[in-house]
Amino acid sequence: MKISLTINNKLTNIETPANRTLSDVLRTHGYWSVKHGCQTGNCGNCVVLVNGRAVNSCIMLAAQAEGKSVETFEHCESVSELQQLKVAIMDFADMECGYCVAGMFLSLKALIDKIPDPTEEEIVDALAGHVCRCVKEALPVDRILEAIRTSRGKF
């Protein structure tokens, strides 16, 4: 089937079998930041923003994104205002694989796009459903909050 959607601000027409997931289709089109973690909606490694909301693209059909705007981590890479936040999450993954980073980052981006000055609870809620398989410590919510506050007004 043919679907038409906007990926990272670019109108894109795609020919795909009806049962393909959005994560599969995005990866086929070169958006490798979208990871295959569990493929069941349980880890958040495949998170992308659809119309500004964080979703698990492994349990969403590409057809469900028809006419919608999809944003992947590739789109945020060059946005300098987001550097502080990126550093805070990268620091957390530090020497590890970093597989979980893009998904977490996008969930936080969706949060601050909606609530520029979130509380710790709102950050914890936005990150619930994300799994880091390498780092056993809790997510550095205080560092994330600090990064958000430092960059406030710049997003």
Partner: protein, 282 residues
């Protein structure tokens, strides 16, 4: 994963959606958020009708009721001031408890959650005590009271289009009380709602999850508390009735015996939370 899916429709109206469902019945299904459907091992379904583009994403007030459109994402219930104002925290809390992941709540819908609710559905439990109704379109449009809806699974190829909840009056209080394990899974949850009238409990409604098929009302608790003075002692006594009235399931989260034992604990917590709200209002 939907290995035989070939067609996907984006109908522009409810009538168009119903016509598609009727014409191809058997191998065609509705898809809302898809959080349950997409990963199901269903090799019968060949076509899907996506209802998320229909004008069914809303929470609105009308004629003393709150109406929630079927494709409203669960996450929207969490942040709705209108809902808070009209029925208190209970529905927002229930929606948030439906799934701990915001990524899933952003997509899964009120309709999808209700159609696929099982014994542990907190949203369904909350709607039972709020005396919600669901409106089904298809053939004739009719409303089913919440407490028979899923026991019957009476959709018959129709579409759940709306949930309708009577607005609570000022002296009516509602609360839920879950037991959540250390992996964030809800083992059991009680919901309660009551009206304070001259210091007594009126119109008491109590329901609990963990019952076979879907959550159930606890008549024994309701009868015991109805008309009693609103005190902790009366609520504790009424909560004891939960033990007799509750016939829970066993699953890998907890045994029937455990759920039965704690049913009175969660019912008491939910009732006391209503009492606390009433006292705060005085």
């Amino acid at each position: 994963m939907l290995s035989n899916l070939k067609g996907y429709y984006h109908p522009k109206s409810i009538a168009e959606a119903l016509a598609l469902l009727e014409k191809n019945s058997g191998s065609i299904l509705v898809i809302a958020g898809g959080t349950k459907l997409v990963q199901s091992q269903n090799d019968i379904v060949q076509e899907l009708v996506d209802i998320t583009t229909l004008p069914l994403n809303y929470i609105k007030k009308s004629n003393g009721t709150i109406r929630i459109g079927a494709v409203t994402p669960l996450q929207s219930l969490g942040g709705s001031p209108l809902l808070l104002d009209s029925v208190g925290h209970i529905l927002a809390d229930a929606a948030l408890l439906s799934n701990h992941s915001q990524m899933i709540r952003n997509v899964s819908t009120v309709g999808g959650e209700l159609v696929s609710s099982g014994p542990l559905s907190v949203l369904y439990c909350a709607l039972l005590v709020l005396q919600g109704q669901v409106r089904i379109a298809g053939g004739e449009e009719f409303a089913l009271p919440m407490n028979i809806f899923l026991n019957k699974k009476g959709l018959g190829g129709g579409l759940l289009v709306e949930t309708v909840i009577p607005q609570l009056n000022e002296q009516t209080y509602s609360a839920l009380a879950p037991i959540i394990n250390n992996r964030g899974q809800i083992i059991i949850c009680a919901c309660a709602r009551l009206t304070a009238k001259n210091g007594s409990c009126k119109d008491v409604k109590v329901a609990i999850t963990g019952c076979p098929k879907v959550p159930q009302r606890l008549d024994g608790v309701e009868k015991q508390l109805e008309g009693q003075v609103m005190t902790e002692a009366h609520m504790s006594l009424a909560a004891e009735e939960a033990y007799e009235g509750c016939h829970p399931i066993s699953d890998d989260l907890a045994s029937e015996e455990y759920r039965k034992e704690v049913s009175r604990v969660v019912v008491k917590k939910a009732l006391l939370s209503c009492l606390e709200q009433a006292e705060d209002d005085l």
